[in-house]
């Protein structure tokens, strides 16, 4: 009898996580008792319509927003959202973010935007190395206004990975891009994910993108409605939408 395969401990683990926003018309439940484990080397795509709770879940995973209830553990240790210093340290060292609208600092060049994250990391890679990973070496000295949308998003990816994070969180990274540019960005993401072996979570409206994931989570009304595993993740170049 073969020895049972030992499951590695999850990098991030959520138990009973909920998030409620008060509003004049009554409380809005953005997340309802979510249980989730994310493992090293995993690329997870979260799908769901607007208001399904994807972004809120991503923000909680990245320490950008505190859950109203439940527990979030990073490498087995509970994240204390009440302690601003510790949650900042978590973001500073372990999490890389990629936003739909890039959020680059317009007064800094591509290299300087990446250096902005490297400056506060413990053992970052060189800004140029991160830019090389996203294929932007020739554009390193350009300001955001001189870059196309796809290039700006790749700078944002370089900025997210320069600190060698344990978790890379991408919020609709192709949402503002056309299909061809979007595919380039997804290729860059997949390449980096494989090279660095980090947990990568990507949220999107676009169901086709799920093809590149190891796991696809469908969110609905603040809960994980369905979970699919994918043993042969597709090359983003082959994804069409």
């Amino acid at each position: 009898m073969a020895a049972p395969e030992e499951t590695p401990p999850p990098v991030l683990s959520l138990r009973g996580v909920g998030k409620t926003y008060p509003s004049p018309g009554g409380d809005v439940h953005a997340l309802r008792a979510v249980d989730l484990d994310l493992f090293a080397g995993e690329l997870v795509v979260m799908l769901g319509p607007s208001g399904s709770g994807k972004s809120t879940l991503l923000h909680v995973l990245g320490g950008l927003d505190a859950p109203s209830r439940g527990i979030v553990r990073f490498r087995g240790r509970e994240l204390s959202f009440a302690d601003a210093g510790r949650i900042t340290a978590y973001r500073r060292t372990q999490v890389g973010f990629v936003f739909q609208f890039y959020h680059l600092i317009p007064s800094l060049t591509a290299r300087e935007n990446v250096a902005l994250a490297a400056d506060v990391a413990k053992a970052p890679m060189a800004a140029d190395e991160a830019l090389a990973l996203v294929g932007l070496t020739p554009r390193a000295d350009h300001f955001p206004a001189q870059l196309s949308g796809g290039e700006q998003q790749r700078v944002a990816i370089a900025r997210a990975i320069v600190k060698r994070p344990a978790v890379l969180l991408c919020d609709e990274p192709t949402g503002a891009l056309d299909a061809a540019t979007g595919r380039t960005v997804l290729q860059a993401l997949q390449r980096i994910h494989r090279q660095l072996g980090i947990v990568t979570v990507l949220i999107t409206h676009n169901a086709a993108i799920g093809a590149m994931a190891d796991r696809v989570l469908h969110l609905h009304d603040g809960a994980i409605a369905r979970e699919l595993r994918n043993t042969t993740p597709a090359d983003p170049a082959t994804i069409g939408w």
Partner: protein
């Protein structure tokens, strides 16, 4: 943090105009504070050093004549430490090629050595040789004004006798820091000077050998001033003592001290108000600027930057703006202080008057400016930092417009739809709207304040010289003369009419209060000296009783109908009781008037003219001084036209410069505020403007909204500013430096002043709007809406 430092540098470079305008606003506040306070400190310090170095007297007394040994009795008075006797007289100078009347006060020096009290500061040349009676020192500013040099011979008439002195030195004296001719308001170096001669020479000229007619005293430490003065008066009464007076009543010291007090009043209130206004505005404007960086702050948080690191970044931005403001302000303050000191130098005549910085006010100005900038940035940074980064990353929720007072009042429904956005925008941000309104108001108030001073002084001159003192010229006789002297005066060429002038030096006493002054004996019905009531209507000199200037009546605490005791300090030194018949409005001097007969009955003085007031033909103003040169009984001639011209020139040049300064400052303040508000409004409402354009509004219609917002704030600020200006002017005119016994500035804010203030605001509004207008012209609605979706 190198990347963050780069961001800071680039942000500053990109928004340099806006940051510079904030820095300039702070710089103006700091410059005013530093400039005015340092000038005040420099002057006060120079005054103290000068007084100490020259052993400036504590008290003085003029008298008719006393033998020199009487000085020993003064030395024996308890509280008197030093006594210096001297001779003082008035001379009419006869300068070659000078037609106008020039007078000099002659003051004796000890026969050997230098004065023990009221020493002089020799500027050039040497002291008069005791062996040469014809050598004299001249007041250096007078010598400069008349181009008199060492070695020049000056001819003069002293007590009807022609004399001549050779100028061997130029000097300054603490007694003549402020040199105005008798009856004059401002220094007039061309027409009045001081000359110092050795005692023997002056005694010989005036027939006072072995005697003195003036004395200066220094008190012992802890002396009782009132008791000393009373004892001195007792000693000197038999010798025609005119009543001793302490330093605070010394004419030169009084004017210098009052000028310093006025400067202190200005230096305390004006820069502080400006600095606080600038600080408040910087606080608001910088705060708004930080809020526009909400997205960047959120990204920095998401990247793992600590709150402290982010706060430091924005505080560095504010700090650099404050630092630039401080540096510019300190440089500007040093320049202003140096310029002000230079402008005051000709009037104060302190030796070694060189501007030096004042540490305290400088530190205060820099601290207030820096704190304003830092706190201005810190508040909004903290409010963004408090948000969870996820929330800060989202665009701010649409602002709530439901609770505005404007909507609840229903007023907004009266406005067209597009104008409602302006009204609601203003109502929704009461702090910012208030700040802008206040900024505009401060600018208006500043102009009102500056222009009011100009109007008030011109009005004062008009009342004093056109309504009250209506004579064309004034003569002073060598000695008091009877009515027959008037005949020869009337016979002078060009003289139309002459009125005898008699001034009795008296002390007026009402209960515990008393004042030294002169009662002018004015013939009833005289149209040369006309007292005025509060509404400037002429008041006839009463047949009986005293007519008192308002300031004198207030000082004595009396009203019409009250009685005062009148102690004659000259003549037979009688004491009488007179009723206060009327109170007159005056702005300069603390005078009292009586009908000649009433004065004679009260004090037993014979009707004797010490001089005469004249009305002249058109040409006589020029020829009279020449004609009087041959009349030895005339000690001095003062032609009103020339003294008034000097005065007007003096006032106009000084006040006009300060008015130009004020208007400049006000424009800068208004521009700084409005320009920043427009910039921020454009940045914040670009999306609204783009939407309106997409909905089909014309370019001009969209820009009209921006103009409307600024114009509306300016409109609210204007009346508030006029009111604030009026209040500041009222505050100034009730302060001690501007409302005392000798000088009272009328509270007069003319429609012209108000119009000037509104014009300044209108110019600033137009310029600021034009800047916003230009920015809107470059608006690409599609790009704006896409960028923010």
């Amino acid at each position: 943090m190198r990347a963050l430092a780069t961001k800071l540098r680039r942000d500053l470079r990109q928004g340099w105009l806006q940051y510079l305008s904030i820095a300039l606003l702070l710089a103006l506040g700091i410059a005013l504070q530093v400039g005015m306070h340092s000038t005040m400190a420099t002057l006060a310090d120079a005054q103290a050093r000068y007084y100490a170095a020259t052993r400036f007297a504590d008290a003085w007394c003029s008298l008719v004549r006393a033998p020199l040994p009487v000085a020993d009795r003064l030395r024996a008075v308890d509280g008197v430490a030093h006594v210096a006797t001297r001779l003082v007289d008035l001379a009419r100078l006869d300068l070659p090629g000078v037609a106008e009347a020039v007078q000099a006060r002659l003051v004796s020096l000890p026969q050997h050595g230098r004065p023990a009290i009221d020493d002089l500061r020799l500027v050039r040349g040497r002291w008069p040789d005791p062996e040469h009676d014809d050598e004299a020192l001249l007041l250096d500013t007078f010598a400069a004004a008349r181009a008199l040099a060492l070695g020049d011979v000056v001819r003069m008439i002293v007590r009807g006798r022609a004399c001549a002195v050779t100028v061997v030195g130029l000097a300054r004296s603490p007694e003549y820091v402020y040199v105005a001719a008798p009856g004059g308001l401002f220094p007039d170096d061309r027409r009045f000077g001081v000359a110092w001669l050795r005692e023997r020479a002056l005694a010989a000229w005036t027939g006072r050998t072995g005697a003195f007619d003036d004395v200066a005293l220094r008190f012992s430490p802890g002396a009782d001033e009132r008791a000393v003065l009373a004892a001195v008066d007792t000693v000197l009464a038999p010798y025609g003592g005119m009543g001793s007076y302490a330093r605070k009543d010394h004419p030169s010291h009084f004017f210098v001290a009052n000028e310093l007090l006025q400067l202190r009043t200005f230096a305390t209130f004006v820069p502080l108000a400006f600095l606080l206004a600038a600080a408040f505005l910087v606080h608001v404007v910088l705060g708004r600027l930080v809020l526009t960086q909400r997205g960047a702050i959120a990204v920095l948080k998401a990247l793992g930057y600590r709150d402290g690191e982010i706060a430091r970044h924005y505080l560095a931005l504010a700090g650099l703006v404050a630092l630039s403001g401080a540096v510019l302000g300190l440089l500007g303050g040093a320049w202003l202080g140096d310029a002000l000191t230079g402008a005051y130098a000709p009037y104060y005549r302190f030796p070694d008057l060189a501007w030096s910085p004042a540490a305290g006010p400088t530190a205060l100005a820099v601290a207030v400016a820096t704190a304003a900038a830092l706190l201005g940035a810190l508040g909004p940074v903290r409010s963004v930092l408090r948000l969870p980064p996820a929330e800060a990353l989202r665009p701010p929720a649409p602002p709530s417009f439901r609770d505005s007072l404007l909507d609840r009042s229903g007023l907004v429904r009266l406005l067209p739809t597009r104008a409602r956005t302006v009204a609601r925008e203003l109502a929704r941000r009461p702090l910012r709207t208030g700040g802008t309104v206040l900024g505009a108001a401060f600018a208006v108030a500043l102009v009102v304040f500056g222009s009011f001073a100009y109007d008030a002084v011109m009005h004062l001159l008009h009342v004093q010289f056109s309504l009250s003192y209506r004579a064309d010229a004034q003569l002073r006789f060598v000695e008091a003369r009877g009515d027959e002297a008037l005949g020869s005066v009337r016979a002078l060429p060009g003289v139309q009419a002459a009125t005898p002038l008699q001034a009795a030096a008296v002390r007026l006493v009402a209960g515990p209060r008393s004042r030294r002054t002169a009662i002018l004996a004015v013939p009833m019905g005289s149209d040369m000296l006309v007292a005025r009531d509060a509404d400037l209507r002429p008041i006839a000199v009463p047949a009986e009783g005293l007519l008192l200037a308002r300031s004198l009546a207030d000082a004595l605490g009396v009203r019409a109908g009250d009685e005062v005791r009148v102690e004659d300090l000259g003549g037979a030194r009688r004491t009488g009781v007179a009723t206060v018949a009327r109170i007159a409005t005056t702005y300069v001097g603390a005078s009292a008037w009586m009908a000649p007969d009433a004065l004679r009955r009260l004090l037993g003085r014979p009707a004797a003219a010490e001089g005469a007031l004249l009305t002249l033909d058109d040409d006589a103003a020029r020829t009279l001084p020449g004609a009087c040169r041959d009349a030895p009984q005339v000690a001095a001639v003062d032609v009103a036209g020339s003294s008034l011209r000097t005065l007007r020139d003096h006032v106009q040049s000084n006040l006009f410069r300060s008015l130009a300064f004020t208007v400049g400052f006000a424009l800068a303040l208004a521009l700084g505020v409005l320009f920043n508000v427009v910039r921020i409004a454009v940045a914040e409402r670009l999306r609204d403007f783009a939407t309106l354009r997409m909905l089909g509004c014309r370019d001009g219609e969209v820009r009209a909204l921006l103009v409307g917002e600024v114009a509306f704030t300016a409109l609210l600020g204007a009346p508030l500013g006029l009111w604030l200006g009026q209040r500041s002017a009222a505050l100034l005119t009730s302060s001690r430096g501007f409302a005392n016994e000798q000088f009272r500035l009328p509270l007069l804010v003319t429609p012209r002043t108000q119009a000037l203030a509104l014009l300044a605001l209108a110019v600033a509004t137009l310029l600021a709007t034009w800047a916003g207008w230009r920015r809107c012209r470059r608006l690409d609605p599609l790009a704006v809406l896409k960028a923010q979706d």
